[in-house]
Amino acid sequence: MTDTPESPAPDARGDRGGGLKSDRLSGLVLLALAGWIVWLNREFPVGTLADPGPGYVPLLLAVGLGAIGLLVALFGGDSQPLRDIRWTEARRAVVILVACGALTFALERIGYRLSVFAFLVFFLGVVERKKPLPMLLVAAGFSMASFYVVADLLGVPLPRGPWGF
């Protein structure tokens, strides 16, 4: 479930509808990425074949990525049309990423326990609309218990807030 491609293979889809195809767009994005890396790589000496510099291998790889991107775009005519890709969970995914970003920002500022407590209260209370009592119990229990196991029992240092908590 972790790394299985989500879209079926082109042959299985057999969809020849109009509009931009997913592999065409992917290929072009890869090509653009490769171009950007080549541009960034200009700062590093490529050296000679007998003495390759720090820019040599990145340049080879970027050129390789660009070539593959081009092939993906060229052979991507049979792939899934872009409009057929469903983004039903995208809004929730953005909320998750923003909340994780907020937790990361707060982690070293207010400490592990408080930031994780606030993070779980937000998810369980605001996003999932759980009842206050189980929400508070899970948020407090998880933040305290995980800190105890990881920091106190396993000896892994975790950030504490300005109040030593």
């Binding site: 972790t2 491609p5 790889l61 983004w87």
Partner: protein, 508 residues
């Protein structure tokens, strides 16, 4: 042979040390729980536990992490059979017939055959590891930079050829991973590359933030807002015993799956995932009644489950003998060993025999522990699946952040993890395989170093790769695979994936 036996006995002395044994059992139990939880595969489990192993001795650290790995492979089958939810990717094929068996009231025998098959396959895998790794390691002592360059390139082409999806897209992801591996200080010149002025990127991008982001976070983003999981069955102990006919039908698939899985496990890529697909395809093809597949054929559980467990063990052969990871999990495990100042590779077995043989022996013990513990305790373990997903996923997210932060106490690592999570989500939407990114990240610096050393050795000519027989053989093999892989792309034909059902959605 006698030497191997004596070394194994020494390994058992290490594995039965009470502390090592306790950690092996603990790793198996944690792994089983991790494997059962959607969103926490073996990789995320190992990554999260990694910081906790820094204070342990290296033998205990690797025994614990390996226990988590094969425990997770084992645990993934439980959710597949009982709920049609693959706890980890390799269990996807088990869902098909395993869940159909549950619907037919045969959940117990399906779980039992999965456990027995996993035990047999795990044991076959360990025997293979024990016999192959030392031989491969002594052969690899002849390797210089050109041979390593050829080996790494061949590995990438094999990965592309054997990947479950498009070869071009897999290669693109491998190149993306290799480029990620270029970030940080160049060890040969001292230049800091692609760091955008961030001091934290001087050491490069770590495997843990990338792996947890790509696999853990992106999985949660994909499943966000999903419906509550279906109700879970709790099979009783007496319902677990398969019938004589079920045993008879499972025997061949277990043996074939074990051998096939081990052979595929040595190959780079998502080997355990591919092995389960290939095994399912082989069993369906060999069956006298292929129409039973998808409707509760026990061979469809026995083969893939054995194959993915055997592949998980096979992956340790190149990791321990050559120091080369075959996938993200072994990449993280190499990082775990290197933290202790030990470099996996050809010299490991000679310089650290207690670590290698202790590890091998602990895998025998771990497999037995999993069989003894998991079958009677399956009713207890499935209680975990009763936790509503709405409560589970925020806690898993917090765990991911906690695990990633604690590897090097760096918030930058957490930001990288979140970025990789978002990238992984987008890539999965567009049908890209993510394993090559993690693999490329680890192989990138190795490939760069060996290529530049080879060119320096040869005075600037690529002819050095043609003058050395081992390197030349590997390059020829890589080119043959590339030709095979490109043929269906160019001529629009079908390749081996179609034969094993990787191009088709699974039945059922």
């Amino acid at each position: 042979m006698l030497e191997t036996f004596n070394s194994l006995m020494m390994g058992f002395a290490v594995a039965f040390d009470p502390k090592v044994f306790m950690y092996a059992v603990g790793g198996c139990i944690i792994g089983t729980l991790v494997g059962m939880m959607p969103g926490l595969g073996p990789l995320a489990g190992i990554s999260l536990l990694l910081p906790a192993t820094f204070g342990l001795n290296p033998i205990i650290a690797i025994v614990l992490l390996a226990g988590v790995y094969y425990g997770a492979m084992y645990g993934g089958s439980t959710t597949s059979i009982l709920m049609r939810i693959p706890g980890e990717a390799a269990s996807v094929m088990t869902c098909v017939d395993g869940y159909a068996m549950t619907q037919n009231g045969r959940a117990g025998p399906a779980l039992a055959i999965a456990a027995i098959g996993s035990f047999f396959a795990g044991t076959v895998g360990v025997i293979g590891l024990m016999l192959m790794a030392p031989t491969l390691a002594s052969f690899a002592l002849r390797f210089g930079p050109p041979e390593y360059t050829a080996l790494l390139l061949m590995g990438l082409f094999v990965l592309a050829y054997m990947s479950g999806g498009s070869m071009l897209k897999t290669l693109a992801m491998a190149f993306f991973g290799l480029l990620l591996g270029m970030i940080g200080i160049d060890v040969m010149s001292g230049y800091t590359r692609f760091s955008f002025g961030m001091v934290e990127l001087g050491d490069g991008v770590g495997i843990v933030p990338v792996a947890v982001g790509l696999f853990g976070i992106s999985e949660i983003l994909m499943t966000a807002g999903q419906a509550e999981p279906p109700k879970v069955q709790r099979p009783k102990l007496r319902e677990l015993i398969p019938s004589r006919e079920e045993f008879r039908l499972s025997l061949g698939p277990i043996v074939r799956g074990s051998l096939l899985g081990f052979a595929i496990g040595i190959i780079p890529g998502s080997a355990h995932v591919i092995s389960s697909f290939v095994s399912y395809g082989v069993e369906r093809r060999l069956s006298k009644h292929p129409e039973r597949f998808g409707k509760g054929a026990i061979e469809g559980v026995a083969g893939p489950e054995s194959a993915n467990n055997s592949a998980a063990t096979g992956a340790f052969v190149p990791m321990l003998a050559l120091g080369i990871p075959t996938g993200p999990v072994t990449a993280v495990m190499i990082a775990a060993i290197m933290v202790h100042g030990i470099l996996p590779g050809p010299m490991l077995i000679q310089q650290q025999p207690d670590l290698f043989w202790g590890f091998v022996a602990s895998m025998y013990v771990g497999n037995l522990v999993l069989l003894i513990l998991n079958l009677p305790m399956v009713g207890l373990f499935v209680n975990l699946l009763r936790i509503p997903y709405a409560y589970l996923y925020p806690c898993v997210l917090a765990f991911c952040i906690l695990g990633c932060y604690s590897v090097s106490n760096s918030v930058t690592d957490v930001w990288i993890m979140l970025a990789m999570g978002a990238i992984g989500y987008g890539l999965r939407k567009f049908g890209f395989d993510l394993a090559p990114v993690a693999l490329g990240l680890v192989l990138g610096p190795m490939l760069e170093l060996s290529l530049r050393q080879s060119l320096a050795l040869s005075g600037g000519t690529y002819g050095i790769f043609l003058e050395r027989p081992i390197a030349l053989t590997m390059f020829v093999l890589a080119l043959v695979l590339l030709a095979f892989a490109l043929k269906p792309v160019i001529f629009k034909g079908k390749d081996w994936r179609a034969g094993v059902g990787l191009d088709d959605p699974p039945p059922g």
